[in-house]
Subunit: 183 residues, 3 copies
């Protein structure tokens, strides 16, 4: 009996301290929900409604028009409303704050680093994200690297998709947050 315990325990210890070989397909999120966020880019004329602004650009470009060459080199700072559904006018449950960078010359890709600051009856706390965003791909994964409050020490994956966009001024992201480490 002791033997069986030691074996079992040893297996469990392995599972904890290193890899989880052969179990990739068994992972289920310990928490999952979908949120939307809405980005209205300042274009020189929409100061009242804009939620983001170009703050850096490559040589020759300016701060009210996204740069040529697939916007390569633009840094955008944002403070975007987060909603439970895809309606920009729904009551926000928090703010998405951080930045994105257009980072390729010959296609549209961006790199994201931002935090969801959630403040609703359902969720209180922050979730931080980092990742490459190949915008033209329908569904792409970024990393959830940390959390606070209700999301204390959480980690996971967020699957994002462009839910809508209107020219260079508005886009809406669908964010499916899947936590695999919940504490």
């Amino acid at each position: 009996m002791r033997a069986s315990c030691i074996l079992l325990c040893f297996f469990m210890f392995l599972a904890v301290s290193s890899a989880y070989p052969g179990k990739k397909k068994q992972y289920k999120p310990c928490k999952e929900f979908v949120l939307y966020f809405h980005d209205i880019l300042y274009n020189g004329k929409n100061a009242a409604n804009a939620t983001s602004a170009i703050v850096a650009a490559p040589e020759g470009a300016n701060l009210t028009i996204l740069a040529g060459q697939n916007h390569f080199g633009n840094i955008i700072v944002f403070d975007d409303p987060i909603t439970l559904d895809n309606n920009l006018h729904s009551p926000p449950v928090g703010r998405a704050q951080g930045m994105y960078i257009y980072d390729t010359k010959n296609t549209f890709t961006s790199w994201l680093s931002f935090t969801f600051a959630l403040n609703s009856t359902q969720h209180q706390g922050t979730i931080s994200f980092i990742g490459a965003d190949p915008i033209l791909v329908k569904s792409r994964d970024i990393s959830v690297v940390g959390g606070t409050g209700d999301f204390f020490m959480h980690r996971g994956i967020a699957t994002i998709g462009t839910d809508a966009f209107e020219g260079d001024v508005y886009f809406r992201l669908h964010v499916d947050i899947k936590f695999y480490e919940c504490w």
Copy 2:
């Protein structure tokens, strides 16, 4: 007896591979300490002492005065001394390096992403942070997303507070670092 072991083990396995339901309040940091860092922003006249500089700004703003509308859109790059107490002139134990962004138009909030590079008899290694910083709130939590050296693979939460500020030129942050994953 075997049954009790299997049950116990199974419970433990669950606790490891997914959530830790109902145990939120039991977490104690496996390591905790407080550090301060000091930011002196370049304003066009203090080049000798400045430890940070505005490097990006929204349209119409410049790089020696923080932008209007709650500094929305400014990116500041910094290399700030870290001290054990709140005295700017204490011997530094490392440098806080990275950037912060002012990211709201109608209040003062920032978004932080930086690394502590510690080099003292007490601590050798780096700690990296990401998070939203609602500056006007007394105490706010950001995520500790990684570490190296003495902080190899660590994760945790840092509770930060503005310990002092002088106009737009100087501020000091109190950083209470609590690691919950120490290795």
Copy 3:
């Protein structure tokens, strides 16, 4: 026997929920490989080949020449090819996308935050990094804070070294990625 199991289990439980005291030297990566990436900085004349661009600079500096004072305050956005060996012309296995900041006035240090987007027969997925980079040190550690695809939920350490550089236009980084949390 039950006692021994409970003791063992309790020890294991401790090992999971908090620190791993005294075992620092036993850690071996659960996965490790080396990649190179190549950065060709835009200087006003090399638009066709450049893979990165200065997009922010301190007051008085411009976007085609790295700033004085050890480039303090420059933000560079990049989309660099990743190769398996140190040859810029080898077939790329992915792109390194993100940004680096020069962040010290009196020496060369940078701060990095970027993602490897790997797309080869060997690796499909992303790996995200953050860290301080004291460039003049031969070998330095940064944090691997998250992954997707083949690197689902991975964490680890990357040891980077400047493998080559040519003036202000080209550098190549040797990146030894060691995952300690593999899933």
